[in-house]
């Protein structure tokens, strides 16, 4: 009997840092638990100190990518070079800032033989934060008003425009801060501009509790394998440090309508606020798996493995029934890194078999 060919999956977002972890390492962990040694995982990062790059139990090799700001051509050229060494079957990008370029590059990647399972550029654009009210009107989902702002003077004049405090100030890709007056608003504006640039977004505050749903939409815009989670502990940046699965048909129905309205394909995370009356309000749609994706493996719905199967054209695997009441608690742990590994990452931008044997002695 012939052995099944080993699958090589490249995963970005290996920046599993405590305050705001990228999802890549959790995705790699899901794939490893689903496929064991039948998968080679290539970790892709943007910083030589991205911790996931050094965890050999999850990443068989690791490479640095060029920053999205270097442009699409540089990214494609870099991936082509990695592909020549690693023979990538499937690429799973999972950082918001890289998604537009990855979506744009999908045809070139496909021509190289690298599969992706991503939305088209139009769908990606329609879930941008400033366009959520428009999307929600179409999908029949509640959504707080969002306004792009280009000057901190908005926070002094906003009451005249019908805005009130508290409100939420957000960056185009990352960061969200609740501000309670004009001074806090202006400070948040300056800080977000310094880190992420313009526009900054003001979003009306919805009092309630946040609930998240992640899933995979197939090529027909159907939501598969949804996993719902309530955060139970947060980092200083508001990211989940602990959480518990829930099951609410209302949340799942809203997510299905959003996926259908978008014509979405690929992984996504829907972030909702549930108000005191139990009504959900959409606050964000992330076009990727979330950092808490390992919880999907914990409830028998390994979504990265589901995505891999669909992307490879295989049948959708059987999924466990929803399992509310399963918790996760994240922890910080050190990994020991030989200086030679760090040297390879700095000098060659890669930790791969071809480079074994080199390094600091």
């Amino acid at each position: 009997m012939m052995a099944e060919p080993r699958l090589t999956v490249a995963v970005t977002g290996m920046n599993a840092v405590p305050e705001n972890p990228g999802p890549g390492l959790a995705i790699a962990r899901c794939l490893r638990e689903a496929y064991g040694p039948r998968v080679r995982i290539v970790g892709l990062g943007y910083d030589a100190l991205d911790p996931g790059l050094y965890l050999r139990e999850y990443c068989d090799s690791a490479h640095m990518l060029s920053y999205p700001s270097s442009g699409s051509d540089a990214m494609i050229e870099r991936i082509a070079g990695i592909h020549a060494a690693e023979h990538i079957d499937l690429l799973i990008p999972c950082l918001d800032a890289e998604l537009p370029q990855m979506v744009g590059a999908a045809p070139q990647l496909a021509a190289m033989g690298i599969r992706t399972f991503l939305p088209n550029a139009q769908a990606l654009s329609r879930r941008a934060k400033e366009r959520l009210p428009e999307l929600c009107a179409l999908a029949g989902v509640a959504c707080p008003q969002i306004k792009p702002i280009t000057s901190p003077s908005f926070f002094r004049s906003c009451r005249a425009e019908g805005w009130s405090y508290p409100m939420v100030v957000k960056g185009p890709f990352y960061d969200a801060r609740i501000v309670r007056n004009a001074e806090e608003g202006a400070a948040a504006f300056q800080s977000i501009v310094a880190e992420w640039g313009l526009p900054v977004l003001a979003q009306r505050f919805v009092a309630g509790e946040e609930y998240n749903l992640c899933g995979v939409a197939d090529a027909d815009g159907r939501l598969l394998g949804e996993v719902m989670m309530k955060k139970r502990a947060l980092t200083a940046k508001g990211k989940a440090w602990a959480g518990v699965t829930i099951f609410d048909t209302g949340l799942a129905d809203d997510a299905r309508r959003l996926v259908k309205a978008l014509g979405w394909k690929g992984p996504l995370e829907v972030e909702m606020m549930r108000d005191a009356a139990g009504r959900y309000h959409l606050i964000e749609i992330n076009p990727r798996f979330p950092s808490w994706i390992y919880l999907s493996q914990g409830v028998g719905r390994n979504l990265p493995a589901l995505l891999a199967e669909i992307a490879l054209g295989r049948p959708v695997p059987a999924l466990a029934a929803p399992r509310p009441g399963t918790m996760f608690i994240r922890y910080a742990v050190e990994t020991i890194v030989p200086l030679g590994d760090f040297e390879k990452m700095i000098m060659h931008g890669a930790l791969s078999r071809q480079l074994e044997g080199e390094g600091v002695r």
């Binding site: 989670m229 309530k230 099951f247 005191a276």
Partner: protein, 96 residues
């Protein structure tokens, strides 16, 4: 007692009673740990609270609840009835 009588009894005696379907979804452990699978909230209750939650998951009226509690715990009927209504009121606020 018919189900309509139960509803009437509950409405008369305990206007603050939560939606029976919402109480029914709660996962109750003998330890007193309570988990709401829709909100993701968890709670801890004492033996009286646990017994009361189990009663509230059934289609019974306040008179039957008080009678059942009196059989298990100390307390006169008016006091128990007041406690039940107070507990149910808090619960209703939690289960929206």
């Amino acid at each position: 007692m018919k189900s309509g009588d139960v509803a009437a009894d509950m409405n008369d005696g305990a206007r603050a009673f939560p939606d029976p379907e919402a109480v029914g979804r709660l996962a109750l452990s003998d330890s007193g740990f309570v988990f709401d699978p829709v909100s993701g909230r968890s709670y801890s209750v004492n033996a009286t609270g646990l017994a009361l939650l189990r009663l509230l998951q059934k289609p019974v009226g306040i008179a039957e609840i008080v009678e059942a509690l009196q059989a298990k715990f100390e307390g006169d009927a008016p006091t128990l009835e007041r406690d039940v209504i107070e507990f149910a009121d808090v619960l209703r606020g939690q289960l929206k």
